[in-house]
């Protein structure tokens, strides 16, 4: 009885698809970008802010790949992105507030 009821329910996770997802390619990209990051950190930019910005862009790229492929955001219903992006909106406010008066004193190389 219970087994019948259970069988009638579409079970979580059993989506039935057998598509090959590009997990290994994502892994290779993550590893290569990590090496690039270490290399960039040793470069001497005219402005420290350029190096910092480039490193943050690279980190954001890596984090986006993990969220999209490994955390399956790419394969989930779109609305679920409202949850992490809602939190990120608050983070943006925090960062803006904290750095507003600090940007002129960014660390020098």
């Amino acid at each position: 009885m219970a087994a019948e009821a259970a069988a009638a329910v579409p079970v979580v996770g059993a989506t039935g698809e057998h598509v090959r997802r590009p997990y290994v390619y994502v892994f290779i990209i993550l590893a290569v970008v990590t090496l690039i990051e270490v290399y960039v950190s040793t470069l001497d930019f005219p402005q420290a802010i350029d190096r910092i910005s480039l490193l943050i862009v690279l980190a954001t790229f890596k984090a986006s790949l993990v969220a999209a492929y490994y955390m399956h955001l790419k394969y989930e219903p779109r609305w679920i992105m409202l949850i992490p992006f809602g939190a990120l909106a608050l983070v943006f406010v925090l960062v803006a507030a904290l750095t507003a008066s600090s940007v002129p004193v960014l660390p020098q190389p």
Binding site: A2, A5, A31, I56, E76, I80, P107
Partner: protein, 273 residues
Amino acid sequence: MAEARTRRYREPNVHHGSPWPFVIAIGAAVSYVGLIINLPLMVLGLVVFVSGAVGWLRDDLRTTPRAFYGPGTENLPVLGRVSARKLATWLFLATEVMFFSAIIGAAWTVRLRTTETTGLPWAYSGQILNVPGTAFVTFILICSSLTMVEALAAIERGDQKHMRYFLLATMLLGITFLAFQANEFYHLYFTDHLTFTSAPDGINANFGAAFFAQTGTHGAHVTAGVLALAYLNVKAWKGGFSKENHETVELVGLYWHFVDVVWIFLFTLVYLI
């Protein structure tokens, strides 16, 4: 559909209640209060918290695996393929995003403002921290994300053997990361004398506090992840997951990948900049 769902709620053998979450909640509340007013109270709260978690996990591991966990875990059409448990996990991760943002934001505020007020500079990349070694453990953590997602992919195909091996590999990689971090902390603290209140080589005294707060909270999260993976491993080797019932693997995976995402930013913000 609604009728069938109501009937399942009443099935006596579809057990979906447990007292342990209440114990865990009480333990958490007591430890938070203790953190503010009394440290022994905090320890008591933590003991209650851990007891609740252990009791809950023990009950779960003793339960016969089945295809259906109970109400709240099924796919409700209104949520579009997302179960209540996955939704709750994402909400939890959203709170974690804000938690880490607060810590990283505080560290950067200190870094940007005390450099000019105290005169001593912040440590530049590689001055005191081991960048190549940390790049290697960053790679280890990325490997562990790959093995985690491959474990999920394996059980989605019904491949028990590969799921077990990938879960074991993920846990071992996580332990490797923690071992490196413990070793790093030990050397920084005792050999290089980078403490919470002082720093060597003319480095700003706040550097140590900022460093240990950011990487320490992350390390605590990795520890929690390794414990969750230990539970997954035990359950997987007991045959507790199947092609039809493996959401726990996915949810622990979400947390594990999130911890990886946090490290991606910490590696950049703490070690490289």
